[in-house]
């Protein structure tokens, strides 16, 4: 079996190419995704695909609410769109189509319709200020009807995107700007290597299945995307202090793999949840509340959340650094829960 080492951006590109070859109902729709001499979307994911699939790379006007609605219409008629926004922040302009229409259409039809829309949105705080930084996971969690996945590695990006495209339900994939490994003019400063060996074979990562990234006995740390990588770094740091951290990457937020998380909590009794968006009502709030409801007998310390403050993302680097949970902040939270 041959393998290739690919960045997330490259891996997603090859994955989309493969899905479009495999199934001619699959098409891409979004802004700046199919311009020769362009960038392949904001982060190079669709770069060059227009050469092979000239009529299935739909380069849209800047009309987010419009083209998400178009994706829905096409999906109900049997096509399988992959719709992307350049920054997750712009999906807010399409919240009517995403939340009122895409999420609810099947339910409102009494289960008669299928809505196989895949959506992709880059998240993360990257020096661009308040309107290009948001993580929308907390906005979509309370919108039943959309599955949500968050790949932290290229391997998972491919496996989850295949699952999403082949799935008959709407799936939103959040991707992190600092994990793409975009190259050339679209490279990001502060990027982290999230590349993987990608097998040739047609594997999938099932939606709703977490992965234990690092086994440990003392504390369970739950994090996705960039925060997962920082949590691994924190775990390495804490190992030297004799704290044995288990890092769980849920990979899917909806549906959520409670079994894997609960098994870990039974073992460690201590939980830290890390996320990049504001703490209030975040993903961590949902996980913590459920664990408090259902696992209280196993918890030996209060659940800790490490998150951004309840403000928009600031621009200036010292404030931005303060805003995004750092390795040290994660480590400190772990130390605190182990002191119980």
């Amino acid at each position: 079996m041959t393998m290739k080492r690919l960045s997330i951006a490259e891996a997603l590109r090859e994955c989309i190419r493969g899905e479009m070859r495999r199934d001619e109902r699959v098409f891409c729709i979004g802004e700046d995704i199919a311009v020769r001499g362009g960038w392949g979307g904001a982060f190079t994911v669709t770069l060059g695909l227009e050469k092979e699939f000239s009529d299935r790379m739909i380069n849209t006007p800047i009309s987010e609410n419009g083209f998400f609605g178009v994706a829905l219409g096409a999906a109900m008629m049997g096509l399988r769109p992959i719709a992307d926004v350049q920054y997750a922040d712009f999906a807010l302009l399409a919240m009517d189509q995403i939340v009122n229409q895409i999420a609810k259409m099947r339910y409102m039809s009494g289960g008669k319709l299928t809505v196989p829309v895949t959506m992709r949105a880059p998240v993360g705080v990257t020096g661009r200020g308040a309107q290009h930084s948001q993580s929308l996971e907390p906005f979509l969690l309370p919108a039943p009807g959309i599955k949500i996945v968050c790949p932290a590695t290229a391997y998972d990006a491919v496996g989850l995107l295949r699952s999403a495209v082949r799935c008959d339900d709407p799936v939103m994939m959040f991707e992190h700007k600092l994990l793409y490994g975009s190259k050339g003019a679209r490279a990001e400063s502060g990027a982290i290597d999230a590349s993987s060996e990608i097998p040739e074979e047609d594997y999938v990562v099932p939606i709703g299945r977490a992965v234990v990234r690092r086994e440990g006995a003392d504390v369970t740390v739950i994090a996705t995307l960039l925060m997962m990588h920082r949590s691994l770094q924190a775990a390495a740091l804490l190992e030297q202090e004799g704290i044995d951290v288990e890092v769980i990457d849920p990979r899917s937020l909806v549906p959520f793999d409670w079994d894997t998380v609960k098994a870990s909590v039974v073992k460690t009794g201590r939980v830290v949840i890390v996320e990049e968006s504001p703490k209030r009502n975040g993903v961590g709030a949902e996980i913590a509340a459920t664990l408090a409801e259902e696992m209280i007998d196993h918890l030996t310390a209060p659940i800790k959340r490490v998150a951004a403050p309840n403000t928009p993302a600031p621009f200036a680097p010292p404030m931005e650094e303060y805003y995004v949970p750092s390795v040290e902040r994660i480590a400190e939270a772990v130390r605190q829960v182990t002191s119980y």
């Binding site: 802004e31 302009l93 403000t311």
Partner: protein
């Protein structure tokens, strides 16, 4: 053909402002590429006549909204180089104390709302500013800068229509640089011009040579007068070209070489310099002197910004609510 009859002080000030914006953008680009300046940048090289021509038609109390590409608008509306540079460096001396950055430059005290980096987001906002002027019976005007790309957002339709039906004192200024990011406008707009969309809202619309600063000024003056005298909005489409990348390190390979070449010959500063020289309103020495003065002003601002204090990390928590 450019109109004549303006005094040399006025004309040279237009020239100075355009050169200031161009040199500001160039300096910022180098600082960014050197890694000295944080964030991302969208330069407006080639589009200076739009910002300068329109803002020259405004009073200080008039208010503009801007976009992800706001540096030119900010400088033309009276934000100082020091305030703008400070913000780009994320310093406390910046016009938003480092909270906003390049894409949110602005200061209401100077008549500019912090720039709105959501494409089209400013269109209803400018309409609301104009509604307030009308309700408060103030003789002020709102100007909404946007790109061609923004006219395909739903917010364009909603915002312009409300401006039209309520006869508000607002001017919608579309800087048509032929591209929305990398996408050619011809792929995403069926009509020959964008200004003809104005008819659907029942307001006047014109397409102007946006690289002719005087033509822009004259058209803006007319639209602003119309707005100020209670006759309602105008849609100005200013034809221009971005002679630099969309952002950061974009090499703009999607712009055909031939088109780029023609655009460079048609860029507004060279054209206006020729206008001034041909009419002997200035000599080359005077123009060089302006460039030098401008460079000194920019250099001083860079030094001040680099020496200015950075915000404290905990400043993140300030400025969210009034109380």
């Amino acid at each position: 053909m450019s109109p004549t009859g303006y005094g040399p002080d006025f004309l040279l000030d237009l020239y100075r402002q355009m050169v200031l914006i161009r040199h500001f953008e160039e300096r910022v680009k180098y600082l960014f590429l050197e890694g000295v300046m944080p964030g991302t940048i969208h330069q407006c090289n080639g589009q200076e006549a739009c910002a300068v021509g329109v803002c020259a038609a405004l009073e200080p109390a008039d208010v503009i909204t801007s976009t992800h590409r706001p540096h030119g608008h900010a400088l033309a509306k009276g934000i100082t180089v020091v305030e703008a540079m400070g913000e780009l460096f994320g310093r406390t001396t910046g016009c938003c104390k480092g909270k906003g950055g390049s894409m949110h430059l602005g200061d209401l005290a100077k008549g500019m709302v912090p720039a709105i980096a959501i494409v089209g987001g400013g269109i209803p906002v400018a309409t609301g500013i104009a509604l307030a002027f009308k309700m408060k019976k103030e003789k002020r005007v709102a100007v909404c800068f946007m790109g061609d790309g923004a006219t395909n957002e739903g917010a364009f339709h909603e915002g312009v229509n409300m401006g039209a039906i309520w006869t508000l004192p607002v001017v919608y200024v579309v800087e048509n640089n032929l591209y929305g990011a990398s996408t050619p406008v011809s792929w995403v707009v069926r009509t020959k011009t964008i200004s003809e969309r104005s008819r659907l809202y029942g307001i006047p619309g014109v397409t102007i040579d946006g690289n002719d600063v005087l033509a822009v000024y004259v058209a803006a003056k007319k639209a602003v007068r119309r707005a100020r005298t209670g006759k309602g909005p105008t849609l100005l489409e200013l034809m221009t070209y971005r002679i630099t990348g969309h952002s950061r390190r974009d090499p703009a390979l999607y712009q055909p070489e031939e088109e780029k070449k023609r655009a460079l010959e048609n860029e507004p500063i060279g054209r206006f310099a020729k206008y001034l020289l041909d009419r002997q309103l200035a000599d080359q020495r005077r123009l060089d002197q302006i460039a030098e003065e401008v460079d000194q002003e920019i250099e001083a601002a860079v030094e001040m910004a680099l020496a200015a204090p950075q915000p404290k990390p905990e400043d993140t928590l300030q400025d969210l609510f009034v109380a």
